[in-house]
Symmetry: C3
Subunit: 109 residues, 3 copies
């Protein structure tokens, strides 16, 4: 058993959760916020048997899109920057970032 913590964009969360549930993956959703853009995103916690890791990665890759955001340097996106006249730059936000952790024990009560 592995525990995957996947940070994805809110825009892909409903579609990915549906695809995973339809393929008998179990998922828990946590609301989160990106440190750099200060915008809401989604962290999924997915306990998955070792043998299904590649299948999980495939579903995530097929469902989550890379997008770009316009960011004015020095003004965090979430704080609405009046007055900072610097030119906006494009920042790519990936489809998903996944941390795969080893599970020493899985207990269902």
């Amino acid at each position: 058993m592995k525990l995957v913590l996947a940070v994805i964009q809110d825009a892909d969360a409903a579609a990915l959760i549906r695809v995973l549930s339809e393929n008998a993956f179990e998922v828990t959703k946590l609301a989160s916020t990106g440190g750099f853009l200060r915008e809401g995103n989604t962290t999924l916690m997915i306990g998955v048997p070792d043998t299904r890791m590649e299948e999980l990665k495939r579903h995530v890759a097929q469902t989550c899109r890379t997008r770009t955001r316009l960011v004015t340097p020095g003004v965090p996106v979430g704080e609405g920057g009046e007055g900072m006249a610097a030119d906006p730059v494009e920042v790519a936000v990936g489809g998903a970032v996944m941390f795969v952790l080893g599970v020493q024990e899985f207990v269902k009560v």
Copy 2:
């Protein structure tokens, strides 16, 4: 030191946190959502010395109840579901699901 991520039902969260605090376990609570039922649940993060793992499992088993939910197939619980005439089915929701992770280092600042 182990880090336990325990997904429990909201209905058991206050009782379990009280029992754990009274028994000198330290707990951090994260609001979460179940992927299948789309209903709110609770994820507890508990850093626990290896020697107290069995005691923790006992408190969780004694405090968290299994319950059943009526679900209309094809209509996620959290979304209301006018018009889908399929018969509802009973889904068991366990008392708790626990992922036990090894902690390489524990730092208090």
Copy 3:
């Protein structure tokens, strides 16, 4: 790659996230609640290369402050205790509690 789960006080969250972003650390923020004081706090999830662990610990130690809270025994802070006449006691809340986990695989999609 390590995954650090750091529980910090809300009062230090914005400053720490800014310091980490300015030093090219990537961070995801989760809203959380302390089990004992029942007050909101912040859990940061930080995927960090092994070689930068000490630098990360330094930034956390320099940015997060220890504070004390007045607590009336038997009355959880978050629940406003009418009538419990016990004397309040001072509880120290640390700057940060960090769990360092080993990452078996890091995947960017």
